[in-house]
């Protein structure tokens, strides 16, 4: 699904990573782990085509739309849109009735999958942290991505909420066969939910089976 060969990135003279190689197969749930500043977000941006590579190759299946759930958002208490309207910001707008009906059906389907159906009319500004994360996830899912990238989505969340969100992602991964790349600092979540960890170390990436990861790799 994703294949990265000899990928390097430099900002000016500063090396971010060099000759990185890894692949992610369809339906996998993989975590991307590494210290702050190791280049995780840069790598993600390159996968999405938002950042230029210095050298190397990135191959992604042609039909695979990527859904990206960014880490930070500025949603304050006064934020006006309700959850439903926030999710559809990412949906193509159409004047055609048939297209609009299709959009509506898709929205309901996504709200259902992300357990937001009953909350869809709540202003996002008034939603809890966990509900917000679900809304971000739903927005990323609205264009039927085959790959989902979560950028530290569980950071600064309460433990219960964290597991709820991860259960949801895991469900999507299994039922819908969505490939998930999960950027995290969380050892427990990696151990519990993912198949494999991609570890950023010394400008390189090593793929480690989740059975053989240890807590000190996350420090």
């Amino acid at each position: 699904m994703i294949e990265v060969k000899n990928l390097s990135k430099k900002f000016g003279q500063q090396l971010v990573f060099e000759n990185v190689n890894f692949s992610i197969n369809e339906g996998e749930f993989v975590s991307l782990v590494g210290p702050n500043g190791s280049g995780k977000t840069t790598l993600i941006k390159m996968l999405m085509g938002l950042e230029k590579k210095t050298s190397g190759e990135i191959k992604i299946n042609k039909s695979s739309e990527i859904g990206y759930v960014p880490q930070f958002r500025n949603i304050d208490l006064d934020y006006p849109l309700d959850i439903k309207n926030f999710v559809t910001l990412n949906q193509k707008f159409s004047f055609l009735k048939s297209q609009r009906d299709q959009n509506k059906a898709k929205l309901n389907n996504i709200l259902n999958k992300t357990h937001l159906t009953d909350l869809q009319s709540r202003p996002l500004g008034l939603a809890s942290g966990g509900e917000k994360q679900k809304a971000y996830l739903a927005q990323a899912l609205i264009n039927d991505p085959k790959i989902l990238i979560l950028d530290e989505s569980t950071a600064s969340m309460d433990v219960d909420v964290k597991y709820q969100l991860m259960d949801l992602v895991s469900e999507l991964n299994k039922k819908e066969n969505i490939t998930v790349l999960f950027i995290t600092h969380d050892y427990d979540l990696t151990k519990k939910y993912t198949n494999r960890a991609l570890l950023f170390e010394n400008h390189q990436i090593n793929s480690v089976d989740v059975k053989s990861i240890s807590e000190d790799m996350f420090e």
């Binding site: 999405m48 085509g49 938002l50 990206y68 759930v69 960014p70 930070f72 958002r73 500025n74 006064d78 006006p80 849109l81 309700d82 439903k84 309207n85 926030f86 910001l89 990412n90 193509k92 707008f93 009319s121 202003p123 008034l126 971000y136 927005q139 990323a140």
Partner: protein
């Protein structure tokens, strides 16, 4: 009151101005650009007085100044922390320049009052046509870029993540904002044009929860304000801007009160 041609002109012009300001205002508020809008109206004042000094139409002067500076400010300060400071410094400079241009030109001070505070008798027939054309242009841009501008304005992070070209969208938005300031100032004056460009949008935020509804409420409030303002100005001979700003401020606080009441129930 429609027996008078100047009232008909003022009414038609204000209607288009209110629709434009109502639409643009929703995005001004969601992009947190109220302060920039305030500054742009001051820059517009400098533009208009410059136009008077060199003898061209004040509207053209305003458009020129606000367009150039909105794009400059937008490019200068994409970081919000830097934005505030750079905007206030630019704003001070332009108010100073506006005063200088006015004092250098030979026009009477009533002309300056018109630019600053607006006037319903200030618009003639050819200007009405110009205003309508500009307003229609702004509205068309919003129809064309509706989805992308909505996404970027209501969820900048998400829009960027989905690969939208947010920098170009920002420039497009600033252009429409500059045009809206320039046309709005013709009736309510450059000192208070930001009332129309921020308050109806801010009030709508407390009442409804989707982009189309925000636009409808904002345009509605903006229209109600200018129509009521024109009528009362005609009847009382008091300045139209006074009525418009009072109406919009009251609507804003009612909206805020409604939201708080709803939260506590």
């Amino acid at each position: 009151m429609f027996a008078y041609e100047f009232m008909r002109d003022a009414f038609i012009a204000s209607t288009f101005i209110a629709i434009t300001a109502g639409i643009v205002g929703v995005f001004v508020v969601s992009r947190n650009m109220s302060f920039l809008t305030h500054t742009l109206s001051e820059i517009g004042f400098a533009g208009a007085s410059f136009a008077i000094l060199i003898g061209i139409s004040p509207l053209i002067g305003m458009i020129l100044f606000t367009l150039v500076s909105s794009i400059a400010v937008g490019g200068l300060s994409s970081e919000s922390s830097r934005r505030e400071a750079s905007i206030s410094s630019i704003s001070s400079l332009f108010i100073g320049l506006g005063i200088l241009f006015l004092s250098l030109s030979s026009e009477s001070s009533s002309y300056a009052t018109n630019i600053l505070f607006g006037s319903i008798v200030g618009i003639d027939n050819s200007e009405v046509t110009q205003l309508i054309l500009l307003a229609v242009f702004v509205i068309l841009i919003f129809i064309i870029f509706y989805r992308k501008l909505s996404f970027d304005s209501f969820d900048h992070v998400g829009a960027k993540a989905s690969g939208l070209k947010t920098k170009s969208l920002s420039v497009i938005f600033l252009v429409t904002l500059a045009l809206s300031v320039s046309i709005g100032a013709q009736v309510v004056g450059s000192l208070l044009v930001f009332v129309l460009l921020t308050l109806p949008g801010a009030t709508a935020k407390y009442l409804v929860h989707s982009v189309p509804k925000l636009i409808m409420v904002s345009v509605g409030l903006s229209l109600a304000g200018v129509w009521l303002g024109l009528y009362l100005a005609f009847v009382t001979n008091w300045p139209v801007t006074f009525f418009i700003s009072t109406f919009e401020v009251i609507a804003y606080f009612l909206g805020l009160g409604y939201k708080n009441w709803k939260l506590s129930h």
